[in-house]
């Protein structure tokens, strides 16, 4: 059973709906494996359009808290054990960018694994589960698009945040052909990274 809870969050409506559903799943109010009401019903409950509701469900799927099965519906997934300290994968060939993002993420109690090439990043994605990937686009040995293709091929739901400089427009357009991405422009601002983490729900459970 999904209960509608009013949220006064000033943020985007679909994010607050996703946050609300996340709280219900994490608290056990909505059981692991329980089928959520149809998207039409939930849209009606929350008083939003179907598009807004779908965005909320997509976000929950990126957070790994629901899975959708075509024709069957959307099912709740409890967070896996060990998710109390979510892990994030950083893929960037610039060690100082990795250092900066690591300092920001560790400040949020998020564990970090890093890779300096797309190939190394793909290997790490295949070996472990991550709550998010911060991905540089231009790296030696292959672009970040290679990793996005692997994410698509492996059907990994982990949200990808592209961290890239101006002038990479062609590559960004190419990247967008391989699934939903969030974009952070360099220079990286601390506040912006934290906002993205919040929207994607990638925080330590106690802080969420």
């Amino acid at each position: 059973m999904v209960s509608r809870t009013e949220t006064n969050s000033p943020g985007l409506r679909y994010v607050s709906i996703a946050d609300n559903l996340q709280r219900q799943i994490e608290s056990g109010e909505v059981q692991n494996g329980e089928r959520l009401p149809s998207q039409h019903e939930m849209a009606k409950q929350y008083g939003v359009s179907l598009t807004t509701l779908r965005s909320a469900v997509d976000l929950l799927e990126q957070r790994g808290l629901v899975r959708s099965s075509h024709g069957l519906g959307t099912f709740a997934q409890s967070p896996e054990p060990g998710d109390d300290n979510p892990q994030v994968l950083l893929v960037d060939d610039d060690p100082q960018v990795v250092d900066l993002l690591t300092a920001i993420l560790e400040g949020e109690d998020i564990a970090v694994t890093s890779a300096s090439t797309a190939a190394d990043g793909i290997a790490k994605l295949e070996a472990s589960t991550f709550r998010a990937v911060f991905l540089d686009l231009i790296m030696p040995g292959g672009t970040g698009v290679e990793l996005l293709k692997a994410v698509e091929r492996l059907k990994i739901k982990t949200p990808v945040i592209l961290v890239t400089g101006a002038g990479d427009t062609d590559l960004i357009n190419e990247a967008m052909d391989h699934g939903p991405i969030t974009l952070i422009r360099k220079p990286v601002r601390v506040k912006q990274v934290r906002q993205v983490l919040e929207v994607l729900g990638v925080q330590k459970q106690a802080k969420a």
Partner: protein, 239 residues
Amino acid sequence: MISPAAAHKFELIGRISSGLAHELNGPIGIAMGFSELAKEAIDNAGTPELSQADTNKVRGYLDMIETASLRARNLSRGIWNFAKAEPGTTANVNIVELMDSVQHLTAPAVKVAQIDVARREDPSGIEEATSFADAALCQQILVELVLAAPDSIPGGGLVVWLVSLGSNDSVEIDLVTEPWNETATSEWSVPEYVRESFIDMGGSITDATPTPVNPPAGETDQELTGWRVAVTLPPASTD
């Protein structure tokens, strides 16, 4: 009347500056990010004096800011030195150091084409190889040569260089394009004024010749072809 070499140089400065402007975003962003974190750490300390742990944390952030600032300074210093260097003076020049400067100037400009410039790790490489040459002109035409490489590396790759001593103590620079996943479709074309300038300096440059390269492990199974260019510069002067 502007000389052909000077006209080419203006064009090169434009191309290098464009890459440099993009590259500078990196260290500037790092310095800004760690500045934010340092200010937060001080604001969150909560007491008039920082604890040892907070002091260490802020010091670590300041170290990162310093490293990023030095990186930015080296980038801008490289283009400044390149812009102000005037051809016309011949002296003994360490070609290894010169190639290092060419690498630092060109790498940001070709990065957007997914190309990196690197020194080849090879036991025959040396740290010092002195040639009696016009350093400013030599740097300029080597920059031009490297910037001409991307057309022959369509899917990204490397331009690798190696300096060694040739016969009669001449200095040899071996430059090879190494594609990562697509074989070259067009030739690495050596600009005519580059060729003429090497000859004027008493050196020479070969045409680009196809050469087999080993792609990075796992990238592709197909055999790839790159291009090789060999430059010879006169030996050092003993006067």
